[in-house]
Subunit: 253 residues, 2 copies
DNA sequence: TAGATTGTTAATCGATTAACAATC
DNA sequence: TAGATTGTTAATCGATTAACAATC
């Protein structure tokens, strides 16, 4: 019973990257920790930003600050990739940027389909950050015939029935679901059947997928609820109240 | 130097909820683990869904399946809130739903402002999931005068300069940033200065905030890059290749 | 009572962090 | 060489999980 949230996240590989003791500069490694994988794109963005400001070199401290983490964590993370820095000097921005991009897999271009072109789908289709970061939207699909044909960000909305052909012809591996919750599992099943093996899900719906398919979810109202939890704590604390007492009282009401 | 990603996430409270041994039914506790807090909204949604299907009672196994986690984790998570189940029977759906909603803080209504009404801001403003889950959008703000006055989902877009007055009058604690990256830190600073203490950031920009302010970020291209990393692994594995060899070769190129 | 299911324990696993030896 | 900074170690902390005693 693999967690539908992410088959691959759930069944983490383990094996904390034992480095071969001989390889002087670039030891091969397997299984970068999930927490590290999730931060690599943040480092990549920080390096791109440094690069745009024509910074040739940076220390782990500088890069860590730009990425919003502490430097120990940054160095530990980078150590899973190899030894790309120079002691006493720091990191070459361009070189490290390329190495991280290669490790993530965004030196190549990933074709992506977006399913469900409502308000959110429109926003996603118009998002410029895709193309600059290794992704290319190859199609916008919607089940509603009334929407089909409409042009969004230079692409025409097509029928969801074009999915299978598209996935095969364009070798699409990544699908984005921006449909209403009720439609999400069906769409997901079709995507998986067509050969898509990575799904980014914006629908407020738990998806179940077979092993080997990765799902990540982005859920607006969950994020807000997490903030609300902490916010509630803050208000209570600010009121100078004994949290445990208030909580105990509320529970009885 | 607190992590800008989330002051409160970063400096986790610790103290793993020691329960008072006497309290028979509803022991007070402090410091629900962050990982648990992040799952409570998922359980809440699953319970709402069960409730809508008129299910009166459910076991931890059923609820766990609906939420996409395993039942051991679910029971452990719920144990931080109290003892709301009945051994041999399961959980009362309505009762548990209320308890979780109360714990998260969404039995009250949280006023929210959205700043930056571009494509994404439009989508957020039209998102119906807010109101049904304890949040109420009280204002849409944009710095561009050309956008001001436009009606989006029943609310007029107002000037960003209205922020301070709004926050005070409506007691806004939560702000959503949907501006371009370059504007995000300035907007964030204004929000914080105005009194907002929780921020949901959609801009691809690391925000720095003072202690006591929570930031959560939603980053589309980061999510896609995480999927790409795993996808790359899958393609290589499918090719039947020795991953370590390929990686070693690529690194030399 | 017998069967079912919770709440809790304890073992394990993964992530974070500070400190520092290695080395430029 | 002296100063700076990386890459790694080891300790600590937090999260997950299976198993089972408690108890309905």
């Amino acid at each position: 019973m693999s967690s539908p949230r992410s088959a691959r996240n759930g069944g983490s590989d383990g094996s904390s990257a034992k480095r071969t003791p001989d390889a002087g500069a670039k030891p091969a490694e397997r299984g970068i920790p999930e927490a590290t994988v999730a931060r690599l794109p943040v480092y990549l963005r920080a390096l791109t930003s440094l690069s745009e400001r024509s910074t040739a070199t940076c220390s782990s401290e500088e890069l860590a600050t730009a990425a919003g983490v502490n430097s120990a964590k940054l160095r530990k993370d980078l150590s899973y990739l190899g030894s790309y820095g120079t002691r006493g000097v720091g990191y070459d921005v361009e070189y490290l940027r390329y190495q991280i991009a290669r490790e993530i897999g965004v030196t190549q271009d990933w074709p992506v389909v977006i399913v469900g072109i409502g308000n959110l789908g429109h926003a996603l289709a118009n998002y410029s950050g895709f193309s600059s970061r290794g992704f290319r939207i190859v199609a916008l699909l919607d089940a509603d015939p009334a929407r089909q044909g409409e042009d969004v960000g230079g692409l025409g909305i097509r029928s969801f029935d074009d999915l299978e052909q598209l996935v095969e012809e364009q070798r699409v591996a990544i699908g984005v679901i921006a449909t209403p919750a009720q439609a999400a599992q069906d769409v997901c099943d079709r995507l998986v059947a067509a050969g898509v093996t990575s799904i980014l899900n914006f629908a407020p719906q738990v998806l179940s997928v077979p092993d080997g398919v990765d799902v990540r979810k982005v859920d607006l109202s969950i994020e807000l609820q997490i903030l609300a939890y902490h916010e509630q704590r803050k208000s209570l604390a600010e009121a100078g109240a004994d949290l445990e007492t208030i909580d105990a009282i509320e529970k009885v009401i």
